[in-house]
Amino acid sequence: MLAILAHNMAPIMFAALVIFLLLGYPVAFSLAANGLIFAVIGIELDLFRPDFLQALPNRVYGVMSNDTLLAIPFFTFMGLILERSGMAEDLLDTIGQLFGTIRGGLAYAVVFVGALLAATTGVVAASVISMGLISLPIMLRYGYDRRLASGVIAASGTLAQIIPPSLVLIVMADQLGRSVGDMYEGAFIPGLALAALYAVYVFLVTIFNPKSAPGLPLESVGYRDESGKRGLLSLLVLTIVSGVFGWLVMRDSGTHGADFVVLTMFFGMVFAFAVALVNWATDRAFGFRFLSKLAQQVTFVMVPPLFLIFLVLGTIFIGLATPTEGGAMGATGALVLALIKRRLTWDLTRQATEATAKLSAFVVFILIGARVFSLTFYGVDGHRWVEGMLTSLPGGQIGFLIFVNAFIFVLAFFLDFFELAFIVIPLLGPAAEHLGIDLIWFGVMLGVNMQTSFMHPPFGFALFYLRSVAPRESYLDRLTGKRMEPVTTGQIYWGAIPFVIIQLIGVALVIMFPIMVTHYKDTGPQIDPSKVKIEIEQPDLPPIDFGQPPNFK
């Protein structure tokens, strides 16, 4: 009996873990307790030395001294400050005006702003709530299909999960033992591709069912000039001139690739902002304007997010800053922006600080719990057991990827991404590595997949947040005075389903076109791949980490 137990410790331990977690006690402590209980059993069975548990404090210390985890509180704090800084409202309002008159325009605006917010605030709840409060009532007023409206809002909000600087990618890079900067670069294009897919879906809907996403009547659009014109031409000219300016500045700089794009955009943005500022000043002083109202307004609302994106992502991509430094600069930048917009109050700062502290505590404690678990699990060769099972799947790389993605997709119904990332990913990583799969590519693919955990009815958190702000009862529209029907929970659920499917298409695209991710290898400061290999492979060492490089737990 005892021999059977001793030989099958890994599967038994894993089964016990599933039960422990499903009990619904906080994950961090269930994980750790599972590790402890089986460590005691292991010591009793003479599998471990009696001083086995002495290694625990050192594991916690390893988590503490891991610099990269600092990016978690920094980006969280930045997002919490930004979500209250009024940036989201300004963007939604202005971009809604810009796209409003075309069919499906408001939906495109939501996707566009969702992507911009994702690249700055990175908080799903904030994006969904602000879009639900600002855009949803307008979409309903002009007769948008409720399922389309709520689906596009929930999905665009979840872009924050995949477009850097997302916490998921930090945790994923950590668990897979890769650099966060590479993970960010790898995830950027798939993130934008997903936003594009959402827009394509909206476009198809407007083709096949034009009534479900009508354009706004011209009279209802704001920022028009006195003549009643919208001034789109002026905006177009400004955009082109700014782009050309950026290009001229950068033409002879000798940079290329991502560096070139980032810096060109930066100079273009500075130029456009300067022009809009001069326009504003001459308008105030002499009543003379050379830009349309719309062009000026769009420039003013686009500059803060674009500048923050440059400050954070741009500096990371061109290798100027580490993700931790980028996070610190971004958080400081967010404070400054909120201060300029006069939104920074004592109360806001306190709320953001306290929320950041609590989020950090629960996230890092899951990691600590996972490390206590892994101490024992690796001690009983659990990692080899899992790896053996996964690498013996039929179909080689592709078979493995399809199985793993299906597995994660199902788990995402029940678990959120922190749990998936800390418990499941470390078990998958070594097998993927063994099959010769690029771990950044693998991580981004799973990231796109795990995004669905926010959209799955009925537990998806994005749906949850949308439900909490969408009208539950019929109401009088404040502008037209018409009685409006409520948005039902069923409509929110049905609306999410096309986007869950789009997400799967996204996963398939990442699998079929690895270049979307693996271009990260061509840019930025390069690490010798052979060196990385050496760091990663330490299968037989005592479990200091999740069997992965020590740099980051």
Partner: protein, 197 residues
């Protein structure tokens, strides 16, 4: 029960206060890190002590705020199965978890982290990096964390038993109400549908 509940309230008050005050170290860490990044780029100067200070500050935040997070019931749970159970069973699971998961964990951690700290303190262990900080204060944080977490575990146990006996109302809200609260808080700061349209 009266005395125990008083004890529980005292523990809650301590951990609440510690959490609230120490959460501000997040802002300090951000400022330290931003300053480090800037001086590194602009003046090409960096100091290991300042670099290490970043993670020591953050460690103090997540370690010493975790009892407060437990108090606020914000350590995440997988409640998909749990939420289908009757309330009494869920309370029972919490009592079980406090007794057999949390408290043993904190005791093992206290017992192992005290010598871990003392060994370091006795030799006044310095950083491995030139000009870095002493290591023992950071190591002391581990022991303090699990000591406070142990106290909070006792307090949560007392409260859960009291809830089951009907002595006090349940201090936890449901996750749904938490999401709604956040939405409400957030709504208050938004100006609804600014203008035009």
């Amino acid at each position: 029960m009266g005395i125990l509940l008083r004890l529980s309230r005292a523990i809650d008050a301590i951990n609440f206060r510690i959490g609230k005050v120490l959460s501000w170290l997040v802002v300090v860490a951000i400022l330290v890190s931003a300053t480090n990044a800037t001086t590194r780029k602009l003046f090409n100067a960096s100091s290991n002590a300042w670099l290490e200070l970043q993670w020591v500050l953050f460690s103090a935040v997540f370690l010493l705020c975790s009892p407060w997070t437990l108090l606020a019931n914000e350590h995440i749970r997988i409640d998909i199965v749990n939420s289908m159970f009757p309330k009494r069973l869920r309370d029972g699971i919490d009592v079980f978890g406090h007794l057999f998961f949390l408290l043993p964990l904190t005791i093992v951690m206290m017992v192992t982290s005290l010598p871990f700290f003392l060994d370091s303190f006795n030799i006044r262990e310095q950083s491995m990096n030139a000009g870095g900080l002493a290591q023992w204060p950071a190591k002391a944080l581990i022991f303090i964390c699990f000591f406070l977490l142990f106290l909070q575990g006792i307090s949560e146990l007392i409260k859960r038993v009291a809830v089951m006996r009907g002595d006090i109302p349940d201090p936890y809200g449901t996750p749904r109400s938490a999401a709604e609260m956040e939405a409400e808080q957030f709504t208050a700061t938004l100006k609804p549908e600014s203008h035009s349209n």
